[in-house]
């Protein structure tokens, strides 16, 4: 369908953009890549009265890699992440997850900030933000603030963002070189929304797992970590039997929805299988 009518502004500074949002009493939306917002508008799920195009805002397109981790400017596109060879070492889990995002053409436009603001339960970036305990920096009329991922994502298409706030940066904590990780997701067609996906990583101390992080996407109404599955993994040496056990713990811990794509029982079983595969992949990667 054609888009409903709206006004359009393309400010040159972050301050102007925030002022435009604040001046439209919740009826305005920031426009980054538009790869989720435009379909939402075509379907009349979103009908903003004003779109504030962020493309001219300076300093939001950089990927900064330092001792404290990876800082993704809000306008960094999927393509920029996949093209940045530094991330192979600096955050391999992020790169692998992003390679599953939508399709080629979408990856040329879609942004990390847009994806987090949209907060689709099946989206990879919010899942990585949750799993990796990212911090999300935003700017609004009340000034700048930084929100932990666990407090930022509230549910399906729902975040802690105020209507006048714009995401400026997503900070992923530093990634130790020896860290082990796996990412698995399943969709019927490559690039489609995941029916379920699992991101995990852990560090190894004396042959045993510590600091296990396991996150799930596409299951239930929000990306989330699975503390019981993490507890099943922590303190143990990874072998096939443990992978099965962690998979079972993950399956038991999720609360999957029924919809036209898959039943709740199927999604639960899929989550367990993907967690098991992700853990096996992490262990295999470490010995390579």
């Amino acid at each position: 369908m054609k888009l409903p009518p709206f006004e359009y502004a393309c400010p040159a500074t972050l301050g102007e953009a925030v002022a435009l949002l604040a001046g439209h009493s919740g009826e305005a939306k920031p426009l980054a890549g538009g790869q989720s917002l435009m379909p939402m508008m075509a379907f009349r799920i979103a009908q903003p009265s004003l779109l504030v195009d962020l493309r001219k805002l300076p300093g939001l397109k950089e990927i900064k890699i330092g001792a404290d981790g990876v800082r993704l400017g809000a306008l960094v596109r999927w393509r920029d992440i996949l093209d940045d060879k530094r991330l192979v070492a600096a955050h391999p889990l992020l790169r692998d997850a992003v390679s599953h995002v939508a399709h080629y053409q979408i990856r040329n436009r879609g942004t990390v900030g847009g994806s987090c603001a949209h907060a689709d339960p099946a989206s990879e970036m919010p899942g990585i933000a949750q799993t990796c305990e990212a911090e999300i920096s935003v700017m609004g009329k009340g000034g700048a603030r930084t929100i932990k991922a666990a407090d930022f994502f509230k549910g399906a298409l729902t975040t802690a963002l105020e209507p006048d706030e714009i995401i400026t940066e997503i900070h992923l904590p530093a990634w130790p070189a020896a860290r082990r990780w796996g990412f698995q997701e399943f969709a019927r067609r490559r690039g489609d929304f995941a029916m379920a996906g699992v991101a995990l990583y852990y560090d190894v101390d004396g042959g045993n797992v510590k600091n296990a992080h396991i996150g799930v996407i596409g299951v239930g109404d929000c990306q989330r970590r699975l503390p019981k599955a993490e507890a099943a993994l922590n303190g143990n040496a990874v072998d096939d039997a443990l992978a099965v056990k962690v998979g079972e713990a993950a399956a038991a811990e999720v609360d999957p929805q029924d919809d036209i794509h898959a039943s709740s029982a199927y999604r639960r079983a899929l989550t367990g299988t993907l967690a098991e595969r992700a853990l096996k992949a992490a262990a295999a990667r470490s010995t390579a």
Binding site: L3, P5, Q35, M38, P39, D53, H103, Y104, Q105, R109
Partner: protein, 159 residues
């Protein structure tokens, strides 16, 4: 509002409503009807065009967002006199039947082969997964794109 950008090497200035997509702007304002519109919500890939050399879905971009960029449509990838090497490969491998999706496949394949003339079959399939074709079953399209790689290798070297 007025938006100015380049289309197929020519500067254009168009008076548009903000809600007009680049796809509709190309077709209705600029009469470049080679860009086809299938789903209008970013799923089918038929409306793929190049913006600053990158393949994007023109139904998911506003015409006003294209301000200042270089747009290339399927018309910009053709010759007047003869088929291009990529088009010849599509013909040779019967990579189309009804042809509705073909402009999207040609623009997407052109962007891919320009950047990655050495791509393998897996990569071609992965990239083309963003375009829907209801006629061919895709195998002939993948074969055409793989065959066309040879014509892009020299070009990449020149850049």
């Amino acid at each position: 509002m007025t938006t100015k950008f380049e289309v197929n090497g020519k500067q254009v200035s168009v008076e548009v409503e903000p809600r007009l997509t680049l796809a509709d702007c190309l077709r209705h304002e600029l009469r470049l009807t080679g860009t086809h519109i299938g789903c209008e919500h970013g799923v089918c890939g038929a409306c793929t065009v190049l913006v600053d050399g990158e393949a994007v879905r023109s139904c998911l971009i506003l015409a006003v967002q294209a301000e200042g960029s270089k747009v290339v449509t399927v018309e910009g990838l053709s010759n007047d006199s003869d088929l291009t090497p990529l088009q010849k490969c599509f013909r040779k491998h019967h990579a189309l039947q009804c042809g509705f999706c073909t402009p999207g496949f040609i623009t997407t394949a052109h962007a891919l082969l320009t950047e990655e003339p050495d791509c393998d079959a897996d990569r071609v399939r992965e990239v083309l997964s963003g375009n829907i074709c209801r006629c061919t079953g895709y195998i002939s399209i993948v074969e055409a794109v793989l065959d066309a790689r040879q014509f892009y290798k020299g070009q990449a070297a020149k850049k």
